[in-house]
């Protein structure tokens, strides 16, 4: 990790680059700094805190936030008195560990590398663009980034939303969308894709803080095209957030309020007073985009983002250099995460030959032997989580309470237990007090247990000698209004954890070997891309397709919005798959049965037609689900009943043909014909772009064609916004309709008629176009069968549900199973390709390692007690228990690698023969007993 580093130069070619990096001095010795913070307390100079978006004052010597990595303070030379004026140096003697070193010099380093991933993020909109909204002139106009810091519990206002002007709590708030995006005035014609969603999130968070606040969001189109994002908008509307489709002209100070002037669709100008106005600012290309392009010689697009194409979405114009995240185009967290995994797989494929040569394995100290009869020495650490916990719970009282308990040899409080310096303290205390059990009362084990377990391992303790108490979610958050009771509850939880900790025992770490082969289900663009990427990384896969041939939905597409010739790209992809020695393609194939677990699956696959149909068993280590989706065909708007009503896909096919009349003289397009609560309860993400690409094609063939688009929100997110603008410039008419006032299509003789309410003219209109094109949406192909076979969860809309929507977007809850493409959710081809590459990256991880680790908390069967009833086998949702014959008797046995440690088997076993590692009956009983033993708290 090289921080405070500038990228100066790049020489060489793919596989053998030399990068020059300049490391700017921190003026603090990273190895010596303990992040105690004393220096900041003594530093006399004020420094505007950029981490808090300038809303707070810090000192030139500081750390951005307590959990910062590396956890080393630094001195900002721009305001340090010594570095500017050679005076002061108060910090030097203050620092107990003598970490401050003003003699540090910049250091130039050359890195010899095989590949480069560019992930410099995004830049922020120039404040000049925000001036018309009185930003910078009136303190109660803030950007969404500033507002984010305002609502943060650990931010400068501790989560209290106040007007800067006089400290009052705002009663009326406005969010203005598309500030610095979709704005050719500041040369940002594109849509930033994320602002609608974050504005809704911030509105929801605000309502949580104060349900009485009146919030209005002013928008042009609400672009919540992400998976299940529309649900958030509906939730916001349900709790009273108002959405007004209007263009905001300006914001001006008015008495001690702000006056917002806006124009609605029907041409009316209106005014509205507000206390606080939040500008939903867009994402710009990073400030140093041009510099990066100059150094790396990559091409940028017209908005200075990295130029890529739909079929190689992460490949820059230079071999060996790939891009990920917002630099490729504005995007949200899950898509950035997906792109990063994909970029990793591309870099890994290009450097396959030298894989493993540069890595060092982390070596842990030898594990201290903790025998069952050793004296139990428990350490209790109570976390303040800044003020997240300590503002409600009396942490000192909780720690002292723990200190009085039997076997507790040490107790303390931490400001942030997860910070790097706190980890060092925990390690030190384990050694100093010979602790052999550790209890941490902090936040959720879901996010932080692995971190603390790692700390235990670093200190030479088995990681299972650890118990975590969640006094944030379960105490300070839910009982924020009752601090005393929250403190009592924290004490209760700690007492229970200590009771359990007395009984916990070290559990051995287990590993199982991996079959280095993948099963890829579905041979559309997602499945083919994933299989090819795995092949490039050196792994075999079996690619099964239920249809006669490979290619999937791409076979129905002919061009993209960016103008790519889809069929020639598809042919290249299909040829590559067919020629690859590492991809075994089976058509007319389906998965009949799968047994086993990550690393060791055995699947029965039936393939071929009629008499030629055969079943075979394939051993493989991972599964990639790419079963795809298809066009939804709604029984609406005369689709299938009138020849003049077609879907966008059918129109595309017609336009790609040769017929002279292929581009009709007049077309009405109806968006969301099926999606967004019509038949399908979600946005299908691609339809707006699909409509636009057809519009531009029609106009290319027949410039006189009259096109009217009836829509709810045009969701041409990202750079597709350019096409939307282009279409409007060509005279295409876009008219929004309300969900309760849908257009009607009727047949009148040989003609079709479309009747709709024109919200711009405020009147009902009837048209008789040559053609009606419906944007019908996407449905997943059968996910039920696979969901049952592999025990994979699906969403209410029947798409596969990823393990974590933000941070694990291509993994499924079953280990070793990954998802990509339309089976995960509707998405365009470029996003599908990226997701497939990301799934290949994740799938390759166990294949590269050659083994998988098994969490030691899995179930185990005490076979003496087992009566072989088989109840556990029938109940296990993961197929992780099998019956074995032992000495002629039926006995249950756990397949450790499949077990998810849910505990259903242990709870149901009639003879208590099954116990869970780390959750034995004895341990749980001790917790329950401790719960009742309230004593003097």
């Amino acid at each position: 990790m090289l921080t405070n580093a500038d990228f100066l130069a790049l020489e060489g070619t793919a596989g053998n680059f030399t990068a020059t990096i300049n490391l700017r001095p921190r003026y603090i010795d990273a190895d010596a700094c303990t992040a105690c913070g004393l220096c900041t307390q003594y530093c006399p100079k004020h420094h505007v805190d950029p981490y808090n978006e300038g809303l707070a004052i810090t000192r030139p010597i500081h750390i951005d936030y307590a959990q910062a990595v590396p956890a080393t303070y630094y001195i900002d030379p721009s305001s340090c008195l010594f570095l500017q004026h050679e005076t002061c140096q108060i910090c030097v003697p203050v620092c107990q560990s003598h970490a401050i070193n003003f003699k540090q010099q910049p250091e130039e380093r050359k890195l010899n590398i095989g590949a480069v991933i560019l992930s410099p993020g995004f830049g922020k909109i120039d404040p000049k663009t925000l001036a018309k909204f009185s930003y910078g002139k009136h303190p109660d106009v803030v950007t969404s980034f500033e507002y984010e810091r305002m609502t943060t519990a650990s931010g400068p206002f501790m989560g209290e939303v106040k007007c800067f002007s006089d400290g009052r709590h705002p009663k009326r708030m406005a969010f203005i969308q598309c500030v610095g995006s979709r704005d050719i005035g500041c040369n940002n014609g594109y849509c930033s894709s994320v602002c609608c969603m974050y504005a809704i999130k911030e509105a929801l968070v605000t309502k949580e803080h104060d349900p009485e606040v009146d919030i209005t969001i002013y928008y042009m189109d609400i672009r919540t095209q992400g998976k299940d994002f529309d649900a958030a908008r509906e939730r916001a509307e349900a709790i009273g957030v108002k959405f007004v489709r209007a263009k905001v002209a300006d914001v001006t100070p008015w008495e001690n309020h702000l006056q917002l002037t806006y124009a609605t669709l029907d041409g009316q100008h209106k005014f509205e007073p507000f206390d606080l106005v939040v500008l939903s600012v867009g994402l710009e290309s990073p400030k140093d985009a041009q510099k990066i392009a100059d150094i790396t010689k990559i091409d940028l697009n017209k908005y200075d983002f990295c130029a890529t194409d739909s079929f190689n979405p992460l490949q820059t114009s230079q071999q060996g250099i790939v891009v990920a995240g917002a630099f490729q185009g504005p995007k949200d967290i899950p898509e950035s995460v997906t792109q990063s995994s994909a970029a990793a797989s591309l870099a890994a494929a290009s450097l396959k030959a030298v894989r493993g040569k540069g890595v060092e394995m982390k070596i842990y100290p030898e594990e201290q032997v903790v025998a069952a009869d050793d004296e139990v020495r428990i350490g209790v650490f109570v976390c303040h989580c800044g003020i997240n916990i300590s503002s409600v719970v009396d942490c000192a009282a909780v720690a002292n309470y723990a200190g009085d308990m039997k076997n507790v040899t040490f107790y303390t409080e931490n400001l942030y237990s997860c910070s790097q310096d706190a980890q060092e303290v925990i390690k030190k205390k384990i050694k100093e007090h010979k602790l052999n059990r550790v209890v941490i009362a902090a936040c959720s084990p879901r996010t932080h247990e692995p971190l603390f377990q790692e700390t235990l391992r670093d200190a030479g303790l088995n990681r299972n000698l650890f118990e975590m108490v969640n006094i944030r979610d379960q105490c300070s958050w839910v009982h924020a209004g009752e601090p005393e009771l929250a403190t009592i509850k924290s004490k209760d939880l700690v007492r229970m954890a200590v009771a359990k900790a007395r009984l916990i025992q070290p559990l051995p770490e287990q590993t199982v070997p991996v079959t280095a082969k993948a099963l890829v289900i579905g041979a559309g663009v997602a499945g083919m891309t994933a299989a090819l990427n795995l092949a490039e990384q050196g792994f075999d896969s079996v690619l099964i397709e239920k249809g006669d041939g490979i290619g999937g939905n791409l076979q129905n597409l002919h061009y993209t919005l960016a103008g790519d010739a889809v069929q020639s790209h598809l042919k290249t992809l299909v040829d590559k798959v067919k020629q690859s020695k590492k991809v075994d393609v089976l058509c007319n194939a389906e998965l009949v049965q799968t047994a086993g677990f990550i690393g060791n699956f055995a699947s029965v696959i039936a393939s071929g037609k009629g008499k030629a149909r055969v079943e075979q068993t394939v051993d493989h280590g991972v599964i990639i689900v790419a079963t795809g989706g298809r066009e939804h065909r709604p029984d609406k708007y005369l689709l299938g009943k009138s020849k003049k009503v077609v879907t966008q896909q059918e129109l595309e096919k017609q336009l790609a043909g040769k017929a002279k009349t292929r581009a009709p003289g007049s077309i009405v397009m109806i968006q969301c014909a099926g999606s967004r609560g019509d038949d399908l309860n979600y946005c299908s993400k691609v339809c707006c772009n699909h409509a636009l690409k057809n519009i531009l094609k029609v106009k290319e063939i027949n410039p006189d064609s009259q096109i009217v688009v009836l829509y709810r929100d045009m969701r041409t997110y990202g750079f597709a916004e350019d096409a939307y603008l282009e279409a409007r410039k060509m005279g295409v008419v876009f008219i929004p309709y309300e969900v309760d006032l849908k257009p009607e299509v009727t047949e009148k003789g040989a003609k079709v008629q479309v009747r709709f309410f024109d919200s711009i003219m405020q009147e009902e209109v009837t048209m008789s176009p040559d053609l009606v094109a419906l944007s019908v949406g996407i449905v997943p192909d059968d996910t039920d069968t696979l969901s049952k076979l592999l025990k994979l969860p699906v969403t209410a809309n029947k798409f596969f549900l990823e393990a974590h929507v933000k941070l694990r977007p291509v993994e499924l809850s079953v280990s070793g199973v990954y998802v990509c493409g339309l089976a995960h959710g509707p998405k365009p081809v470029d996003e599908t390709i990226v997701q497939a590459q990301a799934a290949a990256a994740k799938a390759a991880i166990p294949l590269v390692k050659g083994y998988v680790k098994v969490d030691p908390i899995v179930s185990s069967v005490e076979q003496d007690k087992c009566i072989g009833c088989g109840l556990c086998v029938s109940l296990c949702p993961y197929g992780a228990i099998v019956m074995q014959k032992v000495d002629g008797k039926r006995k249950a046995e756990t397949i450790s690698a499949s077990c998810k440690a849910c505990g259903i088997c242990a709870a149901h076993c009639p003879t208590f023969a099954i116990s869970m590692g780390g959750f034995t009956n004895e341990q749980i009983n001790s917790q329950i007993e401790a719960f009742g033993a309230t004593g003097d708290r």
Binding site: F145, S341, A347
Partner: protein
């Protein structure tokens, strides 16, 4: 000029230590490569570290 030269076979440079760079770094190390994560500010984390809560789970961004 005493320039330090880092030479490791099988290494990748990632420019930018936000959520994208960090995730790519984690995946690449798991895939068996050495990573230089180059970040211009004093800490990794990028903009996500500035966010309050993330949708839809209200998880802390840090």
């Amino acid at each position: 000029m005493g320039k330090a030269m880092n030479h490791r076979e099988g290494s990748v440079m990632i420019l930018g230590g936000g959520i994208a760079g960090i995730q790519a770094a984690l995946d690449l190390t798991e895939l068996g490569f050495y990573v230089y994560l180059v970040e211009k500010s004093p800490a990794v984390g990028g903009v996500m570290a500035q966010l309050d809560k993330t949708f839809p789970t209200n998880d802390c961004s840090l």
